[in-house]
Subunit: 345 residues, 4 copies
């Protein structure tokens, strides 16, 4: 089959022929119909420090956000059938550790990330996943939408961690795809949303397809003053840090109201120096971290909003390519000229 592969540790990828991955007794074989680029695919493309840290096996097929049709199942599979339309959960839990056994498989102590730790990903004609991470989509779900349940799940998980109250004012720092989804979900839940970013492309995109009352260009400065002014000086009830930068983490503590909540889920390359006493202790706030999403309750919540039309998963898609043109997608993303890019194998 054709696949987008990483064959060595130099930057770049190759679209080439490779064997279909092998099907274990509790695995399912999916014919991939749509698969989206995630930031981690860029790390692997560049083979930067993060890629080295992951110790990702090479050669490998990239990609992990996808949807498609089940075309074969292992002999012990009981929950999925040939013909099912599924999306793939990226996290492969051990099902044995303390976290897995107490309801938090998504932060398994022995987690393997599909598309990172296992050698085969979803940028290919076919992908194999354990049945435990195949999420059955409602019949009729467009493939592109199905491929985007996974990143939207992170946004939903962030919102559920925040547990908004009616009419909360929420600030979303960062207008990448997940930031956009957080904005859409929060608006669907009756919150008043303000967003920020520093990249022109993202600011424009958020203004066009996002759900924020206002999208602030943070490169112009004065973010803190503008948020304070927009909230009667109280600050935001909830701040979502979706930018993954040291400066926005520091900002999040400043713009949150007393007794408010800061939700952290962006992976930041810098470690911020924080005045925890002034901003966490004296303001009595909650700083809530999260990664991934619950299996499967978060997915179910995404499905509820998507099927009722309250959020639009495709709104973040700016480009779509066939598998053979995978390089173009990488180039667009590396230049910052795209939000979500989808491959259709």
């Amino acid at each position: 089959m054709r696949a987008v592969m990483k064959v060595d540790k130099s930057p770049g990828i190759k679209v080439m022929d490779t064997d279909r991955p092998r099907l274990g007794p509790r695995d399912v074989l999916v014919q991939v119909k749509a698969t989206a680029y995630c930031g981690s695919d860029l790390h692997l493309y560049k083979w930067d420090g993060q890629a080295v840290k992951w110790n990702s096996p090479i050669p490998r097929i990239l990609g992990h956000e996808f949807s498609g049709d089940v075309v074969e199942v292992g002999k012990n599979v009981t929950m999925v059938q040939v013909g099912d339309l599924v999306a793939g959960e990226t996290h492969i839990p051990c099902e044995r550790c303390y976290m897995c056994r107490t309801g938090r498989m998504h932060i398994c102590e022995n987690m393997k990330i599909f598309g990172v730790h296992v050698p085969e990903g979803s940028f290919a004609e076919f992908a194999v996943i354990p049945e435990t991470i195949a999420y059955k989509l409602p019949p009729g779900t467009p493939y592109d939408v199905g491929a985007l349940y996974e990143p939207c799940g992170v946004a939903m998980h962030a919102v559920q961690r925040a547990a908004p109250n009616p009419g909360d004012i929420a600030v979303v720092l960062g207008c990448g795809p997940i930031g956009i989804y957080v904005q859409q979900i929060m608006r669907a839940l009756g919150s008043d949303v303000i967003a920020t970013d520093i990249k022109k492309f993202r600011i424009e995109h958020a203004r066009r397809v996002g759900a924020a009352r206002e999208v602030i260009d943070a490169s112009e400065g004065n973010v803190v003053e503008r948020i304070k002014a927009a909230t009667g000086q109280r600050g935001a009830d909830i701040v979502f840090e979706a930018a993954g930068a040291g400066s926005t983490i520091i900002q999040s503590l400043d713009i949150v109201a007393k007794a408010g909540k800061v939700v952290l889920f962006g992976a930041s390359p810098e470690n911020p120096t924080l005045d925890t006493t002034t901003y966490i202790v004296y303001k009595e706030i909650d700083v809530l971290g999260l990664t991934g999403r619950y299996m499967y309750s978060t997915w179910d919540r995404v499905q509820r909003l998507v099927t009722r039309g309250l959020i639009d998963l495709k709104s973040v898609v700016t480009h779509t390519f066939p598998l053979e043109k995978a390089e173009e997608g990488f180039q667009l993303l590396l230049r910052g000229d795209a939000s979500k890019v989808i491959l259709r194998p």
Copy 2:
């Protein structure tokens, strides 16, 4: 001043002259601009069993849902000023009991209800209330809207007790004014709402101004089957019992999903016989009671949704009268031909 009074225990009211109520040192005098009928005013009009149980003093001025302008303040008043636009909280807490001291003034152990226990209410040109129960409205709030914060507060409190999750399916049993508000709030929070009632007037009204996907005429039977069908046989995530009847309380336990929540706030004249084992224990549900609203956090949440246009408090108003025509309002409500009726003194 002119006032709508109850002078003896026979049914009916009199619109007549009476003295302005006296202003204590921590009280405020409000010129009433809009005041709404509540179900308790009907009990007092009829002087039925409920009225006898309240042991409400006579002669008295009826009414407790209102807004108006502060025209005089007692000498120890510190939180309200002449000229403030205020709505009145109905509950007068003792500020001393265990409940008052631990954050729950609204269920004070020694509660007095304005318009029920104190002899003067709001169906009059002027009303006196302690400053602690005067809620300052945002400048520019229409008086009719201000008078309706109080009943909407019950709806908001019910929703906050339910703590909905994103995309929950909610059933609201009862389409009176508070039921309508619950429907509006839940839709504003992204829930999928189904409503029921048995009265034609209310069903029509809910279909016109409510926020439910579907308003079921419960007099046609099969409510349970219809709710199950509409929820993939799972039942509703949340059921709000806003009808105040034994039969709807029983129904609420039946139509709620496993691990769901039933929120009770309607005062029911009948005591239902409940299969608690099948419906509460084995379904592992929460049955959550509530009365009134928090002072003042609930009011703040109403204000947030009202000022952002997410709920429309006036949508439940079907009739408006001058004080002198108060009898007409009572007759309409007793016949079931009105939702919310407002007097403008």
Copy 3:
């Protein structure tokens, strides 16, 4: 192997030879070392209305609370090994329904109860269970203690539903084994515990081994007055209804404080008539139902308190018999002359 069996629908049991149950590919075979009588075993012994309702297959082996050693595992088993010391979870979930997929396997929509719906139980030399319901006990756990994790799990689940605050006053209605465990857990968590029962044997037993400050003989009346007196007239912060009777459910609503919690988990044969308006709405309480326990987070919490000596699971055991004398255990329990009875096959 020898087993305690129900061979027809007349009252009674037979201790007899029967085949070992068959081992499926994801099952484990356990040599049963200790197994305890539960109330449901009495229903099956008598073959009363409850047994008929369950439609339990006959002939069958009774029993479901047990511990023992794993002696063989099916070929697809991955989480349990031969030699592991395990206790059995009674609930066999489908792992496919909405409840199972969203973290609540213990209230699976298609639940099978081991020892009730499946023909083989634990009152035998060997038992077969799916690996998913085998809970690995800490090495060195006495078999009797291991067999009692399951009923203690119900008590722990009840306590976690109640989410006690520091220093809460808790009333436990009912001093059967689970009631005793609730008392012990609540005392271990710093609560002030008052218990009630009407049976002399249980009252004596609770006074001897329980953890309540006071055990009230409810047959003498005045329970409500005594609880009110003991709580400064406020009532209990939390009431656990562990008696499973219509009268104690009614009582629970009366003796709980305003804003308090009533936790229901006893299966009551009668349906109580409740004044929900006075006791649930106006007191603004939570009525919280529950059944079984979470897999496996509740078990983990039991393990934490047991291994640290904060609760004593064996304290409820009043009698122990070999399998051949199973009839004696039934007779003691039917007469009300025992708390927990254990069989050692």
Copy 4:
């Protein structure tokens, strides 16, 4: 009256005669019977950077943790009577701001701190406080115990923020008086407690009177390894940062388990640099800040545990002096040779 005063900005105090503070209409005059030194008194004594930042008025009477008898009340006082035994809440809220009106007076937007912002404190024969911050103690409470409700309230608030689950493993970083109280409360609630400190005096004191299973001397290093070893490598379910140091804040994120909680309430002079991505995002933890305590629900919870003997407030008192020897108390504390010191005016 005699009082411990700060008359200028040079280090030190004077015990001298001064006027009794004036009684306002909603104030109460308390004859101080016991008053304890807090860390903020040391800042004022030394007049260090923190004191400068507070802009505390001079001349002033020090002290704010105290109990005593009400000897006079202002003419509008309604909640306290002459003869009442009271302790003083340190925080004087405005009762008007958003925080005050929505249940969080303890983090009032316009907070004044008694003993810091107002010129008269409790290191004197008499003190004046608004009736709203006078907490009536149970009759018979020893004065020393009454004076310690306030610091224990911080510990209780920290524990309630953490909302421990049954059998949680808690690590308390810091064995000052509040750290000791957290240890005692957590043990009373059934948790397994490990404590750390770097000062010999505090380590010895914690081992003698604390409630920790183990008190680790953090100056010997390897704290992280020892905590991991003591928790089966999982880390602590809850970490309380009671030391107020940048290094312990960093440590708290390292030693908490996945999905665990870090509770911050120590005021740290240094701003730590934190790897929020590794420790907050990927571990999915909650970092919960807090200051002071709820008025009055936290006090009520302290009272419940104290009156039932589950915690021993006097256990932290190492020295007691008459007012005239206030200097000795300061010297002991500045040398680190005392835990809690009490003055008896």
